[in-house]
Symmetry: C2
Subunit: 340 residues, 2 copies
């Protein structure tokens, strides 16, 4: 394998750049600034106690009606922050309406959920708890549960400095934990930072093609997506049985029908199956479909493999988490009745 400089991926843009700019590109920092993708940096933890509390809540199945489903059930941190199912399994084995998006790097998204109906992670975190098809609890019952457990009461008091223990504190703690779930140090990021050996020739060809073909029009920024809503089926209609309407369901604007938040491509190797309906089982299939319906382009098998090879360089360091030990229920904690 040859050593490849970040510069060699930039031939396509060279014509558009003046001599001064080309010279500036010799520094890795300049390369980074000009690429449409930026590296992800490790999370800065401002309040470790809040994060630790959020981690407990994240793994606590008692936030569900059944006592069986936790945040981690559908956003499994052992499997790329998703569940690798077409659509998730909810309370009483209900079939979820849409593919579970990864929690990894979700703090970088412009909004949460496929249709962006939650403005941030805190707002998102309350959704599944009370969704009858997901955790099927209520915010009041979730808070009652937590208030019945002395260790939780003490920990909330310590973190928030008061005795309010409401859904706002619960979602704030979960969001604080989620904000730590970033995945720096992907091979591609190391390449962006100037490590010429971090990706190989095929992967670089894939990146060049990814840019030249227009994938990067939507999948850009540090999260390679997550920063805009775009129509699924721009050039050719996307065929699916999934009834999700996307952004129009939130805005009421019919022009935004089938507009979805562009999913991140970070760790995409881990977050199969793909698309809001989970219809694409493999990266090869996803790249093929995206080429056709978004770009009006049929990638050759070699091109497809090159892009897939590039996409696999986006797998970053997964969060290293110590599994939390949850405080036990007290005698007054209401016991879940999952079969009622």
């Amino acid at each position: 394998m040859k050593n490849i400089s970040p510069l060699s991926g930039r031939g396509l843009l060279r014509g558009a750049l003046g001599a001064a700019a080309a010279a500036a590109m010799l520094s890795a920092a300049a390369v980074r600034a000009q690429e449409p993708v930026q590296p992800i940096e490790a999370a800065k933890v401002a309040d470790p106690a809040r994060v630790e509390l959020g981690k407990k809540l994240w793994f606590d199945p008692r936030l569900s009606r059944s006592g069986f489903i936790s945040c981690n059930s559908c956003h499994n941190l052992s499997t790329g922050g998703a569940d690798n199912l077409k659509t998730s399994i909810g309370d009483k084995w209900q079939k979820g309406p849409i593919n579970s998006p990864t929690v990894l790097n979700s703090s970088l998204n412009l909004a949460q959920f496929w249709d962006g109906r939650a403005k941030d992670l805190k707002e998102q975190a309350g959704g599944p708890i009370a969704n009858p098809g997901e955790m099927a609890f209520t915010h009041d019952l979730a808070v009652d549960m937590l208030r019945s457990i002395p260790q939780y009461v003490a920990e909330f008091r310590q973190v928030f400095g008061n005795d309010r223990l409401g859904i706002s504190e619960v979602t704030a703690a979960i969001a604080a934990f989620e904000e730590t779930l970033v995945t720096p140090n992907a091979r591609f990021d190391r390449w962006l930072k100037g490590d010429m050996k971090a990706i190989n020739e095929q992967e670089l060809r894939g990146y060049q093609l990814f840019k030249a073909s227009g994938c990067v029009a939507c999948h850009n920024g540090p999260n390679l997506g997550g920063n805009s809503f775009q129509k699924m089926g721009l050039v050719e209609a996307y065929k699916t049985d999934n009834p999700a309407e996307g952004r129009s369901a939130v805005t009421g604007n019919d022009a935004e029908r089938f507009n979805f938040k562009v999913p991140t491509l970070r760790n995409v190797e881990l977050t199969y199956p793909y698309f809001h309906d989970g219809a694409a089982d493999t990266l090869a299939e996803a790249v093929d479909t995206m080429g056709k319906i978004q770009l009006g382009k049929t990638f050759t098998p070699v091109e497809n493999r090159d892009i897939v090879a590039f996409l696999k360089t986006l797998t970053g360091d997964q969060p290293q988490l110590t599994l939390p030990i949850l405080p036990p229920s007290s005698d007054t904690t209401k016991r879940p009745q999952p079969f009622e």
Copy 2:
């Protein structure tokens, strides 16, 4: 709180002991040797790579038909190695037949499952994977899944030194991981080892009563149980809707009807609800019922509280585990179809 020596708990036996024996009891080691309960020691890990592989399998939901249920779903290591439900939730939300026993310290049991139908952890581990009401997979499909994932294939080869990757290797790795799930350093163990301040007066009274009342006849040894089968409802019949017949279902011997493996009392504060049918929600209720149906004894409220206080000293150090990152499925890995 007064400092209390392990010796002060032994008044009941004092009359039966000669002067020489009484003198010997002045050493902590001698106390330990004479108590009917022994401390648990930390696990010695002979083969860390095998344990690490077993940990991955433990947390891998792809060992279930649905891709949703892992070993950890019902033996959750965040919640005392159990699921805190009366009976577990299986594939398609099926209601399990019996309360999920804790995996913690299960290596100390004489056999596995409530009825002891598996002779050891390795034999046990294959059960839930193929049980149609639990993970609902087959051993062949589980092995096919693992063989389709290059990282798993490489890891099995490294651990076992060969290319057999069958259910025997899968269960051996899971068992190796489970053997590490012991919980040393409970306050009661520290007391057993001579730390007189490790338990308080009430807890010591509880232990004395636990011994004097006969609880210790079945709940003894390092695991305070797990080492014999005993009839549920020895003095008075136990009323339950649960159809489990216990040991007789394994041996065919009708005299062993309603004989169950005595559950461990280690970490019992965390493993509610109690009994094979999960009918007792609280320790107070469990102690009350046990007194009546096993010992023909009605504990006073104070006695009950003392025993419960003692039982809570049995919570040991919970395993500190780094959540494993699972190798992704390959393009050839069969995708789960949980709703079919």
